[in-house]
Amino acid sequence: MPNLAIQLTDINKNFGSVCANKNVSLTVESGTIHGIVGENGAGKSTLMCVLYGFYHADSGSIAVQEKPIVIRSAHDAIQAGIGMVHQHFMLVDTFTVLENVVLGTESGISLKESLRASAEELKRLEQEYHLEVDINATINTLPVGLQQRVEILKALYRGAEILILDEPTGVLTPQEADHLFRILDELREQGKTVILITHKLREIMAITDYVSVMRQGEMVANRKTSETNREELAELMVGRKVLLRVDKAPAKPGRTVLSVEHLDFKDKSGVNRVKDVSFEVHAGEIVGIAGVSGNGQSELLDTITGINPLQSGKIKINDQTITSDSSVDAAAMRRFGMAHVPEDRQRMGLVTSFAASENIILGYHKDPSYNGLIEMNNDAIYKSCSEQMEHFDVRPGNPYLRVSLFSGGNQQKMVVAREMERNPELLVVGQPTRGVDIGAIEFIHRQIIAMRDADKAVLLVSVELDEIMSLSDRILVMFDGQIMGEVMAKDANESEIGLLMAGVHTEAA
């Protein structure tokens, strides 16, 4: 029997009436990389937060290194040798690397001695695990890949034997992710235990020794990675067979619907976020914009959809020409034939405290069919809402229900329904499946392809490279506000796009 690093037994955790973890048990062997997969909301993160003392389990027991312990706080978890790299880094942006690592481990009243001692220890750790980083750099000047390295160093500095990584590759380019995996390999060789939480099956297959699958708060399977495959894991995650690839016919691009010429965008502090971007989208094709989050995609989207005023350059949509002189807002863009599924449904797409019916007319609420002489025509609104909910399989199909009570996938389907039902000439979609379960992803993808096949133009922006590659006909890659290159989807490969995402021109590489 090998050493067991972690044993979780019958963990239960409820948030109000929502059951996040239900009788979850998990065993992790020492010196292995153990993957935990599941859809968004399957309870992976909750389980790890229980293990790290961030949440308190309602019931269940925890043993670390085969000794039963009670973990009441992050402090207890650190004492037990558990370190965690959170999905959203737990770093103080304005502090240096060194200050972040020291935080919470200082001894004595004055900082000086602690800082000196830990600078030495950090140097040693950096060398031992090949985790080089400038310890005097301020966090907000470091790229995310390095920030993540600081998080790992922070955990190791606290003597972590077991390292939990929550969705570590979400913000990384494929190359950075590969580098992370090499670091994890190194940690495993040094005898550390790694728990990797992800929803990306590719990562599970690439790096883990064992994998556990969670679905709707329950642990549904444990496998040795070498004895399973992506299809089986996907099926376990969703609970039924899924198509991992989207089937679609070749595109038949027609007339130009959207053309963007020399678009620039400077934000409030004067930073140039979008630099001289030009491209076209034709009827009957899906153009995908790939890139690591924060490389100007959001600003580009906001400008094209009329949320930000056009500062310089030219946008042509359905023969309407927009320049920086024309005062055009999001409503005007809609009138020109554009529909927009915003990147962040909760911040931009929906008013979550309003009823579904009110949300489904947002932006179209002045439509005569929704309005009577003085008051709104509620019957028409409810009827239209019910219809859309039915077409887009929104569950529960109740127009009176508050939007915050729907799951992420169903909320997203409502936004997509609202925008697609107007039958626009051009659909602009940002992150169509962020935080959405696999079932809904499949559905939304099919709807987007159906739009294309109905000879509409689609502009898709996503940080999920898999999504871009399977949906798009043409792929543009953004880095640092520029279009780094254009690839036809049918002959694209991931490493080529990955290099472009990292700002490397393919000719140069």
């Binding site: 992050a74 402090h75 207890d76 880094f89 103080v92 200050e99 935080l103 919470g104």
Partner: protein, 324 residues
């Protein structure tokens, strides 16, 4: 002329004391992520309690202790409402200010019956000027001796304490372990929590310092500057201290300079010669008003971003809760 400048600078130092103490208190609270414009209330409460206690006990020091006590009580009330109960911090501050405004007058009336005033304190129950060694002897040495005699010597103990509070605050905030926790809590409380430090405990510790300093700033007004308490004695000084802290970008030394700048404007206002000088430029009846409002105008101008942008601690005003 040289003498006038010395006198204005001397006045500046005296006027700056309550600003300094309150601004340092504000730095502690706000660096930890707790908004505090309840400084005004703490100052007012401190002034009243200090005067009352000094009157009863005939001891300025016990009065000071009393003002610290009321400062801590107010800051703990603020902590309970906004840290423990996660209430709106701005509302809590407003409540404390209004509470202090009403309570001081009511109690002063009930206890002393002088229309919201407290009795004039005798010399023994006040903080009096301290003559530093050799001040008299050096008085006649040009420049150095004059500065030493006029500017550095001859203040009461609270003035020295206030100017000592600045380097101490700077050291605690930037060079101590507690300061690291404090700043981290104000920037990213979640990160602090994951390292095993209690966010709420850190905020309460910060509020303790805040209360001590806030209360002391009031004691200066009633037991050192004047010898009694009078209704609405703080007269917006707490707000101005907060403004100085923001202008100083939450840094002790910068805040000190902002406090001195504001105080200099008040000191200038008190000099009749300056009014004479301004006569030609500003209509006569507006001179005093003009000088009086200048610190506030300055604050608005600076906050509007003319002198670099002030970036607040990121998590300011947000109660900490991890289970959403």
């Amino acid at each position: 002329m040289w003498n006038d400048i010395l006198l204005i600078l001397d006045g500046t130092l005296r006027i700056s004391v309550p600003f300094l103490l309150a601004a340092m208190g504000g730095i502690f609270a706000e660096r930890s992520g707790v908004i505090d414009f309840g400084l005004e209330g703490k100052m007012l409460g401190g002034a009243f309690v200090a005067a009352a206690v000094a009157h009863w006990t005939q001891s300025a020091w016990l009065g000071l202790l009393g003002s610290i006590g009321i400062g801590i009580i107010f800051s703990m009330m603020h902590g309970f409402a906004s840290v423990t109960k996660q209430g709106n911090q701005v509302v809590s501050c407003v409540a404390i200010n209004i509470f202090a405004m009403g309570l001081t007058v009511v109690l002063a009336n009930a206890w002393f019956g002088m229309g919201g005033k407290t009795p004039q304190l005798p010399k023994e129950a006040r903080f009096l000027s301290i003559e530093l060694p050799f001040a008299e002897a050096m008085r006649d040495i040009p420049v150095i001796g004059e500065i030493y005699y006029e500017l550095i010597s001859g203040h009461n103990i609270l003035v020295y304490i206030a100017f000592l509070a600045v380097p101490i605050t700077a050291w605690v905030v930037f060079k101590s372990s507690f300061g690291l926790h404090l700043r981290a809590t104000g920037e990213n409380p979640l990160a602090v929590d994951t390292t095993g430090i209690s966010v709420n405990k850190t905020r309460y510790q910060a509020l303790l310092f805040n209360g001590i300093l806030g209360g002391m700033s009031g004691a200066y007004l009633s037991t050192a500057h004047l010898g009694f308490f009078v209704k609405d004695m703080s007269a917006g000084k707490g707000y101005l201290a907060l403004a100085a802290m923001i202008v100083g970008k939450w840094r002790p030394y910068s805040a000190m300079f902002a406090c001195l700048l504001f105080s200099a404007l008040f000191a200038i206002k008190d000099k009749p010669e300056i009014s004479e000088m301004l006569k030609g430029l500003v209509p006569l009846n507006l001179i005093e008003s003009f000088l009086e409002m200048s610190p506030y105008i300055l604050t608005v101008v600076i906050l509007a971003g003319f002198v670099g942008r002030a970036v607040a601690p990121k998590a300011i005003g947000q109660p900490f809760s991890k289970e959403k």
